[in-house]
Symmetry: C2
Subunit: 351 residues, 2 copies
DNA sequence: ATTGGCACTCACCTACCCAGAGTGCTAATT
DNA sequence: AATTAGCACTCTGGGTAGGTGAGTGCCAAT
């Protein structure tokens, strides 16, 4: 499986490149004749056929049947994307659209949706954007309301104006006044801190102050611990333009579509995939089966993480057929991620 | 277009009924021979052919081509559903599933999602449930947080534990303390009242107390007015099992699916349709083109409004192909709506 | 090493036929 | 007068056959 330079000389790579480009362009298997004309190598079809046979042996291309041209395999795409691709700078008009679509808008929740829609509209494929990770986010305000049966409704605001809520269960029953007091205490203590540091501080405070703090404060800390301790971050994303995918003939058959849209509405697989791209920064690409999820067999996913204050907080990406114009999509995703990150940057700089 | 009894005697109706039933059962155009065997009328195919010709003249059935059987038209389905249908009582197992799925669950937002999923799973079609209308709902708690540039983040809780938030713009700049005071005032004034009555009271109070109230209270009322005055109720629904619809051959072609799923994600048309059924109580049915939306040409929609405290607060329904088992779906939707309404009933009765 | 030539394969399109299902009409039957 | 049997007719769908064009692999010539 290892590809060394002996197997792949300059010429073969050049031919693979034009083959992939050509196939992406018009979706037909590429034969030796077109390739001979398309490439600037001035080789006869016969020669090209020999090279193609080699490329096929290496698993980079294959033909759907004997008398058809060749189409790239996943490895072929991979090699193309990794080393052969000449990315085109982003279209100025698109750039304008993006920065316009992601600037005026103020509400960060709308912002994510706007980004997703923008991506799908400008690429004519599906756009996906994860909600910003909450750990990397500042606590602004917290509030408790009593419910029946030892349950408490927690409302907390992060990052200026993102509202979250959650129901927690406590051993003890608290009155509205007690909860009010607890909230005041916690607000004075933690408001303005990042959630991560709040969590850390909570653990420390609970441990250290076990004896010396008064009961009310201890209770407040315990409630806060319940609030932030687990599963509250349900990873989620906003998907747009899924229907664009129905237009691509390679995805059009019923079962494929059904699997794909099932995956979209169950969200789990998509989240896993996006989580993977969260780790790296820069653009990541999953081609066809590389994703490991059957539903995305015929799809490629081009993602980039986006950051606020130099911390990765989310991922955005394009989902489309494997045969997509990577040289345009890659810079597009890259730039959009950067603009989105900038747009989400809390305006703490304004005095 | 008017159908009187001269045109449609008992026998024709009986035949129409079995024809529709048969077509719903196996999706094939129904010919005179099968109909002759299927109906208990003991008529020869020839006779039946005559009757069918009449039914076709009346626009109740039509044949896709000369040598095929007949299939019901929209009017045919309509007549069938309105006067010929013999509804089957709901399957006991389904009933158990429904009441189980909609009882334990506590969080009302989850409840709507659960109902939607339940519907899609038990019918193998798409389920849709609107979120309960907010006007018919009680205000529990309100809270303001200042944002930059004269903007205020409003958080309010209705019905025990439903959290809503909204950003409003004010002329004047308020401090956090002022907002806290305003919230306290409003909570003491309106907590426990229905949103509708809060709105009414607000207008009245603003008018009457113009002079005699102090400035802080007036400000509080003004902020509240901004909060509740407009567009805050974005009608929304939870849709599940859309992918089930891809399985039906009558909806399977690409363009149809695309239109349909576009309509789902734009939501507008679906909301309009559901709004219509909101007005009546009991089960409502839109067959094929009756909906008036092209995307739903090949679909039927069976809906029922659901009520809390005898007030209609939302709608739930099944979206599927026109050829669906109405005799089962209708009672199913009916019962589910009732159970959902009961499950949403605020537990004010428990002391 | 490259190329022209050539036999071969395969998908795809068209034409065609045939069977089956179902119809409408007419004449016979009840 | 209503019902039915009979019959000619229509249309779909499946199956077969032939032809075309694109493309290949291989061999021998350059």
């Amino acid at each position: 499986m290892s590809l060394n330079n002996q197997d792949l000389n300059e010429r073969s790579l050049q031919l693979l490149k034009t083959l992939v480009e050509r196939y992406i362009q018009d979706g037909q298997p590429v034969g030796s004749r077109v390739l001979s004309k398309d490439s600037e190598l001035n080789l006869s079809p016969a020669t090209i056929r020999n090279v193609m046979a080699d490329l096929e042996d290496l698993g980079l291309i294959h033909s759907p049947h004997t008398s058809a041209g060749r189409i790239p395999t996943v490895s072929g795409y991979r090699l193309f994307v990794d080393s052969l691709l000449t990315v085109k700078p982003l279209d100025a008009k698109d750039l304008a659209h993006i920065s316009q679509g992601l600037s005026e808008n103020i509400d960060p929740n709308n912002m994510i949706g706007a980004a997703s829609r923008l991506i799908s509209e400008l690429t004519n494929m599906a756009g996906v954007v994860t909600l910003p990770k909450r750990e990397l986010v500042y606590l602004r305000h917290i509030e408790f309301l009593p419910l029946s049966n030892n349950r408490i409704l927690v409302i907390f605001v992060t990052n200026e104006q993102e509202v979250h809520n959650k129901v927690i269960h406590t051993d003890k029953i608290f009155t509205a006044a007690e909860l009010q007091q607890a909230a005041n205490y916690l607000n004075s203590l933690y408001s303005g801190h990042s959630l991560a540091s709040v969590k850390a501080a909570l653990l420390k405070d609970l441990k250290h102050d076990q004896e010396r703090t008064n009961q009310a404060m201890l209770d407040a800390l315990k409630i806060a611990k319940l609030t932030f301790e687990s599963g509250h971050q349900k990873d989620d994303y906003v998907l747009s333009g899924e229907t664009n995918l129905m237009g691509f003939s390679e995805l059009a058959d019923r079962d494929h579509l059904k699997n794909l849209f099932n995956a979209f509405s169950q969200k789990r697989d998509v989240i896993h995939l996006l989580d993977q791209s969260m780790k790296a920064d820069g653009v990541q690409i999953f081609i066809g089966k590389e994703s490991g999820y059957q539903a995305f067999d015929q799809c490629s996913l081009v993602t980039s993480s986006y950051s606020v204050n130099d911390e990765i907080v989310g991922v955005l990406g394009v989902i489309g057929p494997t045969r997509m114009a990577y040289e345009k999509i890659i810079p597009f995703v890259d730039v959009t991620a950067k603009i989105l990150g900038a747009a989400l940057n809390p305006k703490t700089t304004t005095p």
